[in-house]
Amino acid sequence: MRVRLVGYEPDLERVCAAAMRSCYSPHPGYELFTHTSQDKVLDGEKIFDAERIGGLLKRALELGHYDILEHNSITWLAEADEKEILFLMESSKFFETSQIDEKRWLITTNLRVLVELARSTNQLPLTKEMVATLNVAAPIIASSLAIKTATS
């Protein structure tokens, strides 16, 4: 396997959606993040269920408000050459890379960068494989971008 997903934060789509909504709500991000049942009333807020999270993230994609997708990190172990790594590093300030050995690299970025790569016409096979793992870490975003099932 050329690209292997090795790390991402749990509930990262919920985190991004809470961060997005916190900009427009009197309630802070964590209160929104945990607003999952009717037991707790948050004045003026809908329950933060899958439908709500999906709605917020889809809206962010429509509006191009990708910055809210930065509140996370996704890490892969990948076989790549230096040209491919240079391409990644030139494409976004949010790439972090560590060379493991002659062939393998540890690569970390966030959901925003992956969405931008997914929507880019200028993709490498490496970035396509990274984006293809999105449905594991971020199924709602992957579905919105109509990304095929990850092969990793």
Partner: protein
């Protein structure tokens, strides 16, 4: 309404899981290497706009801050009182020929009334908010990699940092020490500052005392890390870490 500040570490890289996944692939990474690969997300609640202006100077980082345009003052009013301004200290001001003496609470109340008054007269919230003082509280979600956080802590935990951001930085530092001891240790700046060195030792102790409570916290729930009065923060910052 005076607000209590909170620093909630509610999303962060699961380093034991990441390390296990790498080991499965025959890769062993040292602590320094891991600093670049991860993210820590805090919900900072009830902090002043003065502090948030200082926080957003730091990069590479990501921020989502409560909007003053879309969240009206009537739904978000609050302010943080600097401990350096005594409660009873009044200053003389002149308004339309009338001399009055006001304390900080009076001024906060005046700006609130004026902002609400403008809104009541049909002025857009985006314009009325220009009256909001630096003490006005805000909420901000902030994410940084461990490497950037260490840079942030080195600068903002220092004795010459302002009290509010310094208290927040120590609270956040204690939070990451508890959540990810695999990557966060003593601050590099401790070797150059007795102030930082002494406080790092206090955080060490407080985190050690909190470990059992944290590991016993149900998954998904918050653990409250008690820092006061031992850490001698200038103002109260409630510190929480979400347990995975």
């Amino acid at each position: 309404m005076k607000m209590a500040s909170k620093a909630i570490l509610f999303s962060y890289t699961n380093y034991p899981q990441l390390t296990a996944n790498l080991q499965e692939a025959g890769v062993k990474m040292g602590k320094d290497g891991m600093l670049r690969h991860g993210s820590f997300t805090f919900d900072l609640q009830g902090i002043s706009r003065a502090a948030s202006h200082q926080i957003v100077r730091h990069r590479i980082a990501s921020f989502s801050q409560q909007s003053q345009r879309y969240v009206r003052v009537t739904r978000s009013y609050g302010y943080l009182k600097p401990p350096g301004i005594p409660e009873d200290l009044k200053v003389p001001v002149e308004i339309q020929g009338h001399k009055v003496e006001l304390n900080l609470t009076d001024v906060m109340d005046l700006t609130r009334q004026a902002e609400e008054g403008l809104a009541a007269k049909g002025i857009k919230a985006e314009d009325a908010r220009y009256l909001r003082p630096n003490a006005a509280t805000t909420n901000i979600v902030m994410s940084m990699s461990p490497r950037q956080l260490i840079h942030f802590f080195n600068l903002r935990c220092a004795p010459d940092a302002q009290w509010e951001i310094r208290d927040l930085a120590w609270s956040m530092y204690a939070g990451v020490r508890l959540a990810a001891p695999q990557v966060f240790g003593p601050l590099p700046a401790a070797s150059e500052s007795d102030f930082i060195k002494k406080r790092v030792a206090i955080v060490d102790d407080l985190v050690r005392k909190g470990e059992d409570g944290f590991s016993g916290t149900p998954p998904g729930e918050l653990f409250r890390l008690e820092l006061q009065p031992t850490l001698e923060l200038v103002h109260p910052v409630e510190t929480f870490v979400r347990h995975y």
